[in-house]
Every structure is written in C-alpha cells, then in structure tokens.
C-alpha cells in the first residue's frame, strides 16, 4: 500500500516532481564537475609547471664546484662521475610514475675552431641526451632529454639526434661571436683528440647555453675519453608541496619516527623522491632545485586553495538551492498532509511517505546530474588542460552525502511544521 501511494504520488503532478528532479540534477552536476576538477587540478597544474624545467639535480658525491651559469667551468679531470648506465634506474624508484623527464649532462671546456677560421677559442661544451629512447629495467619504454626539458629553446635549423656522430648545436651568442651559421663545419679539440662536426642548429635559449656548444652525450664522452660518464643529471618530477614533515625529513631523514618516515617516503615530496634517487644511483647526491621546487610548491598550494574556495562556494550554493526548493515543495503539500493526519496516519508514516518520495525523485535527478557533471568535468579538462580529468570515485560519496543531507535538512523541519498544524486548518487551506 505504501508503495502504491508513493508511485501514485510520483506519477501525478509530474511537472512539480520534474522541477525537483531538475534542480537536484543541476546541483549535483555542478558539484560533481567542480569537485572532480578540484581533486585533479593539483596534478594538472603540476604537469603545466614542468615547463619551468628540472626540480631535482643529481650530482656525484664529493664533486668539485661546477659553475655553469656565468661562464666558468672546471676541467672534469679531477671530478667524480656518475654512470650513464645507472640512469635508467631512476624510473624504478617508488615514485617512478612521477618522474616525467630527466637528462644527463657532461661538461668540458673544449677548443672550437670554425672551419676556415685561423684561431681556436676555448668554449664550454655540453654533452647531453636530446630525445633518448630508453628500454627500462621494468620493461617499459621511455623518452628522456633536452627536447622536452628545455621547452623554451628556439632552434634555428634542426635539433641534433642522440645517435649523431658528428653534428652539434651552437648557442646563438657564440655563433654570432664566431660568425657561425647553420650548416657550417667546426672542429672541436680536447686534449689531442679532435672531431669535425656540422652545425645542425643554432640555439636561442635565453640562458647560459647561448654561449655553449651542445653535442650528443656519446660524442663528448668520446672526445674527452670518459666513456659512460655523466657529470650531473637534471630530473623533472611531479611533487607534493612541502609541509612541516617534509621539511624535517629534508634536513635529516633519520630524525623521523618509523611511522613518519613511512609517511614521508610514500608521499611525493621532493625530498622523498631525491632520497629514493640517491638509493638507486650509486655515489650520487640528489638535491631539490629550490628555485623551481619552492615556487611550484607555492603555486600549487595557492591554485588548490583557490579551487577549494570556489568549490566551497559552489557546494554551498547548490545545497542552499536544493534545500530551498525542497522546503517550498514540502510546504505545498500541506493539504495532503492534513488529510492523511485527519485520516489517522501517524506522524512517522507521513514523514516516511513524503521523505521517500522526495528521496526517490532526488535520487533520479542525482544520478542524471552526476553523469552530466562527469561530462562537464571532461569538457573543462579537455579545454583547459588538453587531458582527461581523472575519475575520482570519492566524488560519489561526497555528492551523495551532500544531496541526501540537504534533502533531509530541507524537508524534515518543514514536514514537522506541517505535522504540528491542526488538520482542520490545513484541510481548509489557511
């Protein structure tokens, strides 16, 4: 009988029910969309911030000072080195999935003589990966190198390739000084060994590389006779912004309790990732590049807080909107409630009937709204980030609790108000 009444009630006065379902659907789709975006915006913005370059740098332990920004390079003879062969292990650490890119560097001062020039000049040369394909120990493939790590470089001509034996790129300042153009040939000499190479491209980096010669890593290793050697590695990783725990751990991991250490290790703090890199690469010291790491933490935090506040506004607005409408529609049913009471229904059964109906209608609207909300989230993801918003199942319970809570808070006080009225008043339409 109960269900018959509910079904009758639902089928009659369809437009009113539709209005409730529609409003709930709107509110749920809004909440779902914005919650999904909020929960994923951190990762998305993090990926965007990778354009700023590496946030972790790996050096060999006990290395001598390497000054690369303003022009002074030490000869690498006395320095400790990292092994190129170890680099693939970077993608085997606990947080391997967060390593988006990395590139090795080998630097040396070589002698550069453009073909046709009389004199040679000492110039800094950098050997690195351009877009190296790696077969990882895990069986996957990965591509790492300058093409992705230096997104802001403008190359006139063409990029060199890792497998090239005799092409180089020259920084634009150096090229201008030495009168080098794309296609020219140059001689690079180091300690008696010499390579004749073609300038494939001229690099406009806006940084120190404008005064350097950029060559494939293998080529430089051959030139300075240090096969398989790497001077430092830059790593680009997706990190979680630092908090108090992370800062304590960065100073001294051994100062943490066992449980804290576990938490720290299993969270993608830049210090944790650096630590894990040191674990797999022999003889290395991995440090955060503060300029990038601190800033991206800052930007990430602020972006997430911003989205959180906007989400809060939307959710509050949604809740109020739904509660509002539910209250209005319950008050409308005064005559019916009065009739039921006059017929001797208990308060509980009246509440049960009205509530069930609203919950059913609301659930229908909620399900449709949820699907629409997922769609809206994907539209945002595609338009803004060019990628899909990750499906976070936690959105479902959050939105469900929100809607059900709002429905209860919106309907119960008004139902109770109706129940407190005398049936006669209600039947005769105050």
């Amino acid at each position: 009988m109960f269900w018959r009444m509910v079904t009758r009630a639902l089928l009659r006065q369809r437009s009113k029910r539709l209005l409730i379902a529609l409003t709930v659907a709107l509110g749920v789709s809004l909440s779902t969309a914005i919650l999904s975006v909020m929960l994923d915006v951190g990762d998305k913005v993090n990926a965007e911030l990778k354009t700023y370059g590496a946030n972790i740098v790996i050096r060999p332990k006990g290395v001598a000072a390497v000054d690369d920004l303003y022009g002074q390079l030490e000869t690498p003879a006395a320095q400790a080195m990292l092994a190129e062969a170890d680099l693939g292990k970077i993608k085997t650490i606990f947080w391997a999935f967060n390593i988006t890119d990395f590139a090795p560097f080998l630097e040396a001062k070589v002698s550069l003589r453009p073909e046709g020039a009389a004199e040679a000049v000492p110039v800094p040369a950098v050997g690195t990966w351009i877009a190296k394909e790696l077969a990882l120990p895990t069986g996957e493939d990965a591509i790492a190198g300058m093409r992705s790590m230096r997104s802001w470089w403008d190359v006139q001509g063409a990029w060199i390739a890792d497998t090239d034996a005799d092409t180089v790129m020259v920084g634009k300042t150096l090229a201008a000084e030495q009168g080098i153009s794309v296609g020219d040939r140059v001689n690079l000499t180091y300690s008696g060994r010499s390579i004749n190479a073609r300038v494939a491209g001229i690099v406009d980096s806006g940084g120190a590389e404008d005064g350097q010669v950029i060559v494939p890593l293998t080529m430089l290793q051959r030139l300075i006779d240090k096969p398989g050697a790497v001077g430092r590695v830059e790593v680009s990783a997706l990190t979680t912004p630092d908090n108090e725990l992370a800062r304590r751990a960065a100073k001294d991991p051994s100062s943490l309790s066992a449980q804290d250490w576990e938490t720290w290790y299993c969270t993608a703090y830049v210090s944790a990732i650096s630590y894990q890199i040191e674990e797999v690469i022999e003889g290395s010291v991995a440090k955060p590049v503060r300029q990038v790491a601190e800033s991206e933490g800052l930007i990430l935090e602020k972006t997430q807080l911003l989205m959180l506040l906007i989400t809060a506004l939307s959710l509050i607005g949604t809740a109020l909107g739904i509660a509002n409408l539910i209250t209005a529609s319950v008050m409308e049913r005064a005559p019916e409630v009065g009739l039921m009471k006059a017929l001797g229904a208990t308060d509980r059964s009246v509440v049960g009937l009205v509530l069930t109906e609203i919950v059913l209608v609301g659930s229908l609207g909620g399900v449709l709204g949820y699907l629409a909300g997922l769609g809206l989230a994907q539209i945002i993801g595609a338009s803004v980030f060019g990628s899909t918003i990750a499906f976070t199942p936690i959105v479902i319970p959050i939105v469900s609790v929100l809607v059900l809570g709002v429905i209860l808070i919106g309907s119960i006080p008004s139902i109770r108000l109706l129940l407190s009225l005398r049936p006669a008043e209600v039947l005769h339409g105050r």
Partner: protein, 389 residues
C-alpha cells in the same frame, strides 16, 4: 469616481498588491530571495576572481626569480650610475616591479683555490630570489655567504674566518694582490648554480678589488604581461645606451603558459557555475510562482486580463530580483575578497560596477522565470485552475 484619478488610484493599488505579496508571504519571499542572492553572489564573486586572480597569480610566479636581465652591450661593464635610469624605464608603465638586483662577478681565491665571488646588494637579492635558503644569517658588512658546494669543497662553516684574495694581475696594467678577511655568516643552499658562489655586499667586493661602480648583470623581477615586457625592453634600449635587455625566455614562456591555463580554467568554471546557478534560480522562481496558480485563476475569475496578471507577477519578480541581486552582488564581492586574502594574503581591487550588473542579471532571470509559469497559468481557463483543488 473621477476618471482622472482612476489611473493614479490603480497604480497605487498595483503597488499595494505587490508590496503585500512580498511582505505577507514571508517564507516564500525568503526562499526566492535566497535563491536569487545565491545566483548574484556567484556572478560577482566568480567574475571578480576571474578578472583579478590571474594578475595575483602572476605576482606569485615572481618567486621563480628574475624574468628580465640587463647586460652590457658594446662595453665591458654597466656603470652603476645608469641604475636609476634603468629602474625608471622598468618601473614606468603598469607592471609591478618586485625587485632589482645588480651583480658584479670576480674570481677570488680562498686558500689558494679559485672561487667565483658575486658582489651584490643583499637586501635587493632577497626580493628577486626569494627561494634562497640560508642556514645561518645573511651577511652584513665584513661577512660573506658561502654556497653549499663551496662550503663542502673548502670545508667552510658558519662563523669561520676566511681570507679572500684578489689578484689584479688578471687585469691589464695593475700588478698588486689584495686580501680581505671575512666571516662566514651562513651557507646558501639552492640546488642551483648559486651554490658554487661566494656572495657578499658589493661594497665589500669593491673594497677588495678597488674597482667601484662596475656592474656585470642587472636582473629585474617584474610582474607584467608579455606585451608590457616588450615595451620595457624597448624603453631600456632607447633610454640607456651601452646595455642590452632581454626577458628570461624560460620564465617568460612558462609564465605565459601557466597563467593562460589558469585563466581559461577560471573562465570555464565561471561560465559553468554561473549557467547552472542561474538555471537553478529560474527553476526555484518558477516553482514559487507556479504554486500560486489558484490565485491566478481567482484573479482571472474576477475578470482580470492576462496582461494585467503577468504585469503584477512581473512587478513582484523584478522587485525580488533587484533586492536579491543587490544583496547577493555585494556578498559576492566580499567572497572574492575573502578568497584573495586567504590565497594571496593580499586584497583584491573591488570592482563595484559588478553590483549593478548582478542586479540587472538577477532582474532579467527572475523576470523570465516569473513570466513562464504565469503565462502558462493565465492562459488556462480559470475554471480548470479553480476546480483543480
């Protein structure tokens, strides 16, 4: 019953009916006002955020460091005397000058080891490179800051006394060495190239070398758009001879990308939230109006024209729209201010023109939301409406 008075009398009755409806139907009016206010809050709040937050985030992106670099052009160094002119050229316009630092680099020796030393104005550097982390203290006169790599290599610690030696032999014409004693005030750890430097006050370095007023690099941290940056570069080139200015490509590119992403995110979120909220406002208004079908039927039974009934409900709706729009519009500006203070610790420039826009939008949405159910009810025969009890 003079005919001339009838118009005024009818207008008074119209106003009286609208006012009575708003004042004696408290719960309904509260519900409608609440819905409208929510819509208006969303409108002014999100639009304020969309227009101002990207600028604030751009300011935050300055934590990445200097985005404009000025180097000597055609001369070996920049003369310190041109700094004011440079500052003026950069500061002119509507960019936000966050900081400026001038550097002089010399190679010095510590314990016979060559080390790069950078002389600069340390207060300036803190503004331009906020990511510098110093364990110990920033150096005063007679003190130096040692980069992590140098400290490790030379075994230097905070509090130690070191002697910096500078050999003029590297310059043409002079042949004397000079030395100065400094105390290590702290160790700098950045993970970048600065870790290989020794940093001190420019005056201190000049005291060691005897060369005053020579600058190698001036860097600026300016929060501004890409177009403004080009304008700054042009101004510098035109106003100051002997220097070349260029934006730091790496930061300029990334900044543009990140801010564009943020802007488009805020835009899309604003559009979607606004659309859905406004529709909710409309449906709520429709529901509130639709329940007065009996009243509409009654008025029709009393002989009212459809136009008249629509006019009455429109009057109520627009009054509600204006009130709710005003309250919500102001609340929305408050919300944007709260967001700005919490996220950026800075206030937002309140754009009061958004409030009348919110009022207009609320009135428009409410008007449409009223008309639809009223028309529907009014065009039905009153008998049906009155009978449907």
């Amino acid at each position: 019953m003079a005919v001339e008075n009838s118009g005024a009398s009818r207008r008074r009755m119209y106003v009286r009916m609208v006012l009575r409806s708003l004042s004696r139907r408290r719960s309904r009016v509260v519900i409608a006002l609440l819905a409208i206010a929510i819509g208006a809050t969303t409108l002014t709040g999100l639009i304020s955020i969309y227009t101002d937050i990207p600028r604030q985030m751009g300011r935050e992106l300055r934590s990445y460091g200097a985005n404009l670099v000025v180097i000597p052009d055609g001369k070996p160094v920049i003369d310190a005397n041109v700094l004011p002119a440079l500052d003026a050229a950069v500061g002119d316009g509507d960019g936000d000058l966050v900081g400026r630092a001038a550097y002089r680099y010399e190679t010095v020796t510590i314990n016979s080891q060559p080390v790069s030393a950078a002389g600069t104005d340390l207060d300036d550097v803190r503004a331009v490179r906020p990511y510098w982390q110093v364990s110990g203290a920033w150096p005063q006169a007679g003190e130096i800051l040692v980069g992590r790599d140098v400290a490790d290599q030379l075994g230097l610690a905070t509090g130690e006394s070191v002697t910096l030696a500078w050999s003029a032999g590297k310059k043409q014409g002079s042949d004397s060495d000079s030395t100065d004693e400094f105390t290590v005030s702290g160790v700098l750890d950045t993970g970048g190239s600065e870790d290989a430097l020794v940093i001190l006050e420019r005056a201190g370095l000049e005291g060691l070398t005897g060369e005053v007023g020579a600058i190698d690099v001036v860097e600026y941290s300016v929060a501004t758009s890409a177009d403004q940056m080009s304008a700054i570069v042009t101004r510098i080139t035109e106003s100051t001879p002997g220097v070349a200015a260029s934006p730091v490509k790496r930061l300029a590119r990334s900044e543009t990308t990140v801010l564009a992403t943020l802007s488009s995110l805020l835009l899309l979120v604003t559009v979607i939230v606004l659309a859905l909220t406004m529709i909710t406002v409309a449906t709520t208004m429709m529901a509130v109006v639709a329940e007065r079908r009996a009243e509409i039927g009654l008025r029709k039974a009393l002989g009212a024209e459809n136009r008249s009934i629509i006019g009455e409900f429109l009057g109520e709706g627009m009054a509600l729209g204006a009130l709710g729009g005003l309250a919500g519009g102001i609340a929305g500006l408050g919300f944007a201010q709260v967001v700005s203070l919490n996220v950026f610790s800075r206030g937002i420039a309140t754009d009061w023109t958004l409030v009348p826009i919110a009022v207009l939008a609320s009135v428009a949405v409410t008007a449409v939301a009223c008309i639809v159910p009223v028309r529907r009810a009014a065009y039905i025969e009153p008998a049906i409406v009155l009978r449907g009890e």
